[in-house]
């Protein structure tokens, strides 16, 4: 499919990828108040791992191991989670502003490794990623088919996360967000919960990375700039931290704004770069959300526990 329908499918699939990332960050920041500025790092890990796992063998990069798509996704999640675990065990106890710097540094290091280790990742040249099930789906319909897969993944994720954030586990997370000391006097092992949240959220980022890789079919280190992290932050903060439906709407809206700015090129004077404008607009959004609407546009639902 091409033309407007093709563009719509492209746009929606891209939005689904970000909705997945936004749900991951919502678990960490929205529900627990855990600051992770390293979203792009885990996103990259998921994308590259899934690419290594699913591709056919190549002398130019690690893998491929020809593993079926669903398993490649799972492995991408597990490896992302392992990265989070290894990073988290020492640093989870740090104060939130230190954690912010450490995680942003972590994501930059991940990107640096991808750029530098050309034998593994093909470095800045980027590597191709397979289209799953392309043998069974006719190519004009493939975009729609993959959108369907992505939506199904998002739906499963949404339900799985809704179940735990509405449980006593989720209630502990909110307690930690509201006041760590209260969580402590109620006997909750705060660092252990935070570590779980860091790992679970990062597994979701890994999943987002994998879905992205198989959608784009070509990944380079430039897909994982710190900007990606801040985009997801805008989605979560604008959509309403602690509200998964809100952050999905946030993801679609911010993605729409991002793509929409492409049409600015007709209006803007010659030579003005869309990339620079986008950078500025996202920066402005971050500032405005904190200054005008720190609780997000939709806000949180009232009952924390809804398991009954």
């Amino acid at each position: 499919m091409s033309g407007p329908a093709g563009f719509l499918i492209f746009f929606l699939t891209y939005a689904v990828v970000y909705a997945i990332l936004a749900i991951g960050l919502n678990i960490q920041w929205g529900f627990t108040g855990l600051v992770n500025f390293g979203v792009a790092g885990f996103f990259a890990v998921g994308a590259y791992v899934s690419a290594f796992m699913s591709g056919s063998p190549s002398p130019y990069h690690l893998g491929g191991f020809g593993i079926p798509f669903p398993f490649a996704l799972l492995i991408a999640m597990v490896v992302s989670g392992l990265f989070a675990l290894i990073l988290g065990i020492p640093v989870i106890r740090l104060r939130e502003d230190y954690l912010a710097i450490v995680t942003i540094g972590f994501a930059e290091i991940v990107r640096l490794i991808i750029v530098s280790e050309r034998n593994i990742t093909k470095g800045p040249y980027g590597m191709g990623v397979i289209k799953p099930y392309k043998e069974v789906i006719s190519s004009p319909m493939y975009g729609l088919f993959y959108l369907g897969i992505s939506l199904a993944i998002l739906a499963i994720l949404y339900l799985a996360i809704a179940r735990v954030v509405g449980s006593p586990w989720g209630r502990v997370l909110r307690t930690i967000r509201e006041d760590e000391r209260v969580a402590l006097v109620l006997g909750k092992n705060v660092n252990w919960f935070k570590l779980q949240v860091l790992v679970l959220g990062s597994m979701v980022f890994g999943l987002g990375g994998a879905v992205f890789a198989h959608f784009f079919n070509f990944i380079t280190p430039n897909h994982f700039l710190p900007m990606e992290t801040f985009l997801v932050w805008v989605m979560v903060m604008a959509g309403g931290s602690g509200n998964n439906l809100g952050v999905i709407i946030g993801a679609v809206a911010v993605r729409g704004l991002w793509e929409g700015m492409m049409f600015l090129s007709d209006v803007l004077p010659q030579g003005v770069q869309i990339g620079a404008v986008r950078l500025g607009v996202i920066g402005l959004l971050l500032i405005l959300v904190i200054m005008l609407k720190p609780e997000g546009i939709l806000g949180e639902r009232k009952t924390a526990s809804d398991i009954l």
Partner: protein
């Protein structure tokens, strides 16, 4: 029940707790008084594991607890409240209480995903208990209100109730009467008395209101400048010259 021996804690140059020793006996309501800055809150923070002592020992039921992380302390049935209430603002009153019970099954990710019936079962019991506590404190009509919207006195009650939810045997109360009206104060005293006599709970409380302390507490421990100054019944404390001096001088 609780033994504190030669406890020491300094902040920079300030010796906030300076070789303090005392005991809290089973099923008493022990009072801790002293001028502002005497080190009372710091003692509570040491007992509840928020600070590591620089010296001395803390024993609870003959076991040392001074090297435990704070989240382990409540599991020994030793609970505390804060001098300035800390409610979970953006959570409802009932959720503020329901989060409190220790070792809930549903606090594990695995159980929340895969063992829903048992989690639900326990959750039902926890909710019943939370409603009972709200009923006992006579604030059940607030159960769906955000805790952040409560009045100062209601927050005090909520924090007290939250502590009850952890089934403590010893409760440390840091100025439970500060900032609440006399009527509510009387009510709170009643609750404390009831829980002591009917549930065999022990209370260790810091309080500034002398009338209240004299009425409610026995024995009373007096601290000044990080040290224990005196200990005894209300009468003994009132007649103790060192105590009078500390209060008038400080």
């Amino acid at each position: 029940m609780l033994t504190v021996q030669n406890l020491e804690k300094s902040f920079g140059g300030i010796r906030a707790v300076d070789g303090c020793s005392f005991e809290v006996e089973d099923e008493t309501i022990t009072g801790l008084i002293g001028p502002n800055g005497a080190g009372k809150t710091t003692v509570f923070n040491l007992i509840s594991g928020f600070y590591q002592p620089d010296g001395g020992k803390i024993l609870f039921r003959e076991n040392r607890i001074d090297d435990l992380p704070p989240y382990r302390i409540p599991h020994l049935r030793l609970a505390r409240t804060f001098q300035i209430t800390r409610e979970l603002q953006k959570m409802t009153v009932i959720d503020n209480l329901m989060v409190a019970p220790l070792d809930q099954m549903g606090e594990s990710l695995w159980n929340s995903w895969f063992r829903i019936p048992s989690v639900k079962n326990q959750e039902r019991k926890i909710k019943e208990k939370a409603l009972d506590v709200l009923d006992f404190l006579e604030i059940e009509d607030l159960k769906d209100e955000y805790a952040g919207n409560l009045s100062g006195g209601q927050k005090k009650l909520l924090e007290f109730g939250r502590t009850m939810m952890t089934d403590p045997e010893l409760i440390l109360l840091d100025e439970p009467g500060a900032g609440i009206n006399p009527t509510l104060m009387k009510k709170l005293n009643g609750y404390i008395e009831t829980l002591r006599s009917e549930e065999s709970m022990t209370f260790f409380l810091i309080e500034h209101d002398m009338d209240l302390v004299m009425q409610l507490c026995d024995p009373i421990i007096v601290m000044s400048e990080g040290k224990k100054l005196a200990e005894g019944s209300a009468r003994e404390i009132q007649e103790n010259e060192k105590v009078l001096e500390a209060y008038l001088g400080g």
